[in-house]
């Protein structure tokens, strides 16, 4: 990789972080187009996509979206593998290849996810942060777990890097194991937060929270005032049956919190930015329940699956993301998630299932169901 390319990448990263801080002179469109041209120059696959689409890269709408499947089939990166500092992998079955999003630096990812989380999850200066997920090993291969650790680092003043645990409080932060949620550990974290008069910020997948509810067997587990529970889809195929409204109601009841304190997050391994519901009290992000609001550096548009053009307002389409955080990978990504634009954000409406299998052929996705 040429030094000039690295410098250009570094400059774009800096510019995106400045933009996210609200201090950039560049507009979203200008930055998105600069990144798209940078990627077209340095990634052969994206250049081919641009050429085939006939795009002149003269507007954000003209940037061809990279299908999320591409992350499973090839490397989507400006830089060579030896410069990777993390490789985030998508969840997958044994038959399915995992998608990989390789980052050359985590600075931008950390800065952007912190800003996203700050405005949706932090109403006070500090929280006690725990995650209902197993303790990760280094290097972290899950973007979600990486983000959770960043939130512990940024939002919890007691967090210190491993090995310098003098400030660490007497509770565990990673509260999920083979037996499910560590209830005793969760109880210690709650007690500590109560004594410290700080809210608890619980980070979890929807699946882990369902597991927790089962373990609690209907017993209430009140959390300190202003506590927030962040839940995210987790493994997509398994979350299909989990109703978010039901989950929210049951968690609110169990934790004795206002339902708005149960906050949904939407993120993808292929993106560096996240969307949140803006329902919690005292946070800067505002929005109705069920609407996921993107930050200023992420634009989400529902597009029709045939021509990939924006659909009429209020119509369901595939999610097309333009994420300024994806400086070194794919600034525009097309997913199979169905969305509808509403109230400054999007509603999530599940996955585009692909064509219904006719004849005795398999539907495309059926391959991923695994052997019986």
């Amino acid at each position: 990789m040429r030094a000039a390319t690295l410098e250009e990448s570094d400059a774009l990263h800096r510019e995106v972080r400045v933009f996210a801080a609200g201090q950039s002179r560049s507009t979203f469109d200008e930055l998105a187009l600069r990144i798209a041209r940078f990627q077209a120059t340095n990634i052969a696959g994206f250049r081919q996509l641009v050429t085939r689409s006939g795009s002149l890269l003269d507007s954000v709408e003209a940037i061809p979206g990279v299908p999320s499947d591409a992350f499973k089939l090839t490397r989507v990166a400006v830089h060579p593998p030896e410069l990777d500092v993390v490789r985030f992998r998508t969840s997958g079955t044994s038959a399915e290849a995992q998608g990989v999003h390789a980052l050359r630096s985590t600075l931008t990812y950390s800065a952007l996810s912190e800003r996203c989380g700050q405005r949706a999850l932090m109403s006070e200066g500090a929280a006690v942060v725990v995650a209902l997920t197993p303790e990760p090993n280094d290097p972290v291969g899950s973007s979600l777990v990486f983000m959770m650790r960043e939130f512990m680092r940024r939002f919890d003043p007691n967090f210190t890097p491993e090995g310098t645990a003098s400030k660490e409080p007497p509770f565990e932060r990673w509260l999920f194991g083979k037996e499910g949620v560590h209830l005793a550990g969760f109880e210690r974290a709650r007690s500590y937060a109560s004594q410290a008069q700080r809210p608890l910020l619980v980070l979890a997948t929807s699946l882990a929270l369902w597991q927790l509810l089962e373990q609690l067997e209907g017993v209430h587990f009140p959390l300190p005032a202003s506590s927030i529970v962040m839940h995210t889809g987790g493994p997509k195929r398994r979350s299909v049956d989990l109703d978010p409204g039901d989950l929210r109601a049951r968690l609110a009841l169990s934790f004795e919190l206002d339902p708005g304190q149960i906050v949904g997050e939407y993120g993808m391994t292929e993106l560096c930015s996240q969307l949140y519901e803006g329902t919690a009290h005292g946070v800067s992000l505002k929005g109705p329940s069920g609407v996921f609001v993107p930050p200023a550096w992420l634009r989400v548009t529902p597009v029709d699956p045939l021509h990939l053009r924006p659909v009429e307002p209020g119509t369901v389409g595939l999610a097309r993301f333009v994420d300024l955080g994806n400086v070194d990978s794919a600034v525009a990504v097309i997913t199979q998630d169905l969305i509808r634009a509403r109230d400054g954000g999007i509603e999530l409406l599940g996955r585009q299932p692909g064509a219904v299998a006719r004849g005795c052929s398999l539907a495309i996705e059926a391959l991923l169901e695994g052997a019986e």
Binding site: R52, T74, A97, P305, A357, C360, S361, I364, L367, L368
Partner: protein, 347 residues
């Protein structure tokens, strides 16, 4: 009637249906245009290649020995490829004197035509009432099969056949141009038949060899697809099928190389990942790999058939790895011998 006589009677009926000049042959063709989504030429191609009207006596004997016997058999048909009910009926008739069939509402044409051409050979019913000692043949989606099996009375033998996919594996090292053309022709025929909607249709194509050989083969496939496409126009694709093709095209444009023609799409990549099947509708993704057996083994549970070209060593390895897939020559994937179920995964 003996099992042989029953199967032969059914084959004779199929022969009459296949004859485009017979009254029943004319009628079914008009209906197939409405129900299959294939072009007129696509229907004819499938009848010529995939409706078994001249099995050998040895095949019929093998078919008979491949099935369980019972006095009575039930057949639950699904909207399969439009010629599939012929073999489904043959299997039931090979093992049972009395066969009762519930046809698919979406695809009743061939069953009704065979019933008309050979009255009394089997019965058409709207109610399935199997009892102890019966054999129950069921075709459909996995969920349907599970439900049906769970609700059968004790003592009924269940034989379920779900959806599947085919793959092609070619070892191109030292292949001549003529060989490549022949293999490309076979692959394209297997692909165009039923517009890849069959459980034997190739949805994965793995190729080994030098870059030059693989590129040459891809060119041959494009040429053959274009050529056959002129004679056999593509049928109708649903909006979802078209959307899958758009996504496939964009993904493969990023990952490798795409040759888009009016007749269909050929893509070439060096990815060994089988993270998704190629969509239906004449899409061929040639994946240039170093080691083809492991990727196929990972999706072995869905594979019914592998079209193969290569050395005996690789063939043996393939057969050992996928003992329940039919390994055939390319161009033969959609016409397996009439020797039992096309899908051997239940064996």
């Amino acid at each position: 009637m003996t099992p042989q006589e029953r199967v032969r009677a059914l084959v004779a009926a199929a022969r009459e249906v296949a004859d485009k000049d017979s009254p029943v042959g004319k009628r079914v063709r008009a209906r197939w245009l409405e129900t299959t989504g294939l072009s007129r030429e696509g229907i004819e191609l499938a009848v010529e290649n995939s409706l078994e009207i001249s099995p050998s006596e040895a095949e019929i004997e093998q078919l008979i020995t491949s099935v369980p016997t019972s006095k009575r058999a039930w057949v639950l048909l699904s909207a399969n490829v439009f010629v599939a009910s012929h073999r489904a009926l043959a299997l039931a008739l090979a093992g049972s004197e009395r066969v009762l069939v519930r046809v698919s509402r979406r695809d009743p044409v061939l069953t009704a035509a065979l019933f008309e051409a050979c009255p009394g050979l089997f019965e058409i019913t709207s109610e399935l009432m199997p009892a102890r000692g019966d054999v129950f043949w069921a075709y459909g989606k996995k969920d349907t099969l599970r439900t049906v099996q769970a609700n059968l009375p004790v003592g009924v033998q269940f034989l379920g056949h779900g959806p599947g996919a085919g793959a092609a594996l070619l070892e191109l090292s030292d292949a001549t141009v003529e060989e490549m053309q022949t293999q490309a022709q076979g692959l394209v025929l297997d692909t165009v038949l039923f517009e890849q909607r069959g459980c034997l249709s190739p949805r994965v194509v793995l190729v080994t060899g030098s870059t030059k050989e693989v590129n040459r083969f891809a060119e041959c496939v494009v040429a053959e697809l274009t050529s056959l496409g002129k004679r056999v126009p593509r049928g109708e694709l649903s909006l979802d099928e078209q959307a899958d093709l758009v996504r496939f095209c964009d993904t493969l444009t990023y990952v490798g190389k795409v040759f888009e023609t009016e007749a269909g799409i050929v893509a070439l990549s060096q990815s060994a990942s089988l993270s998704a099947l190629t969509p239906v509708g004449r899409a061929i993704h040639i994946q240039h790999v170093e080691e083809p057996i492991l990727p196929l083994a990972r999706i072995g549970h869905v594979l019914t058939s592998v079209g193969f070209f290569g050395s005996e060593t690789l063939r043996s390895q393939l057969v050992r790895t996928l003992p329940k897939a039919r390994v055939t020559a390319l161009g033969e994937m959609q016409r397996p011998p009439f020797d039992g179920p096309v899908d051997l995964r239940q064996r």
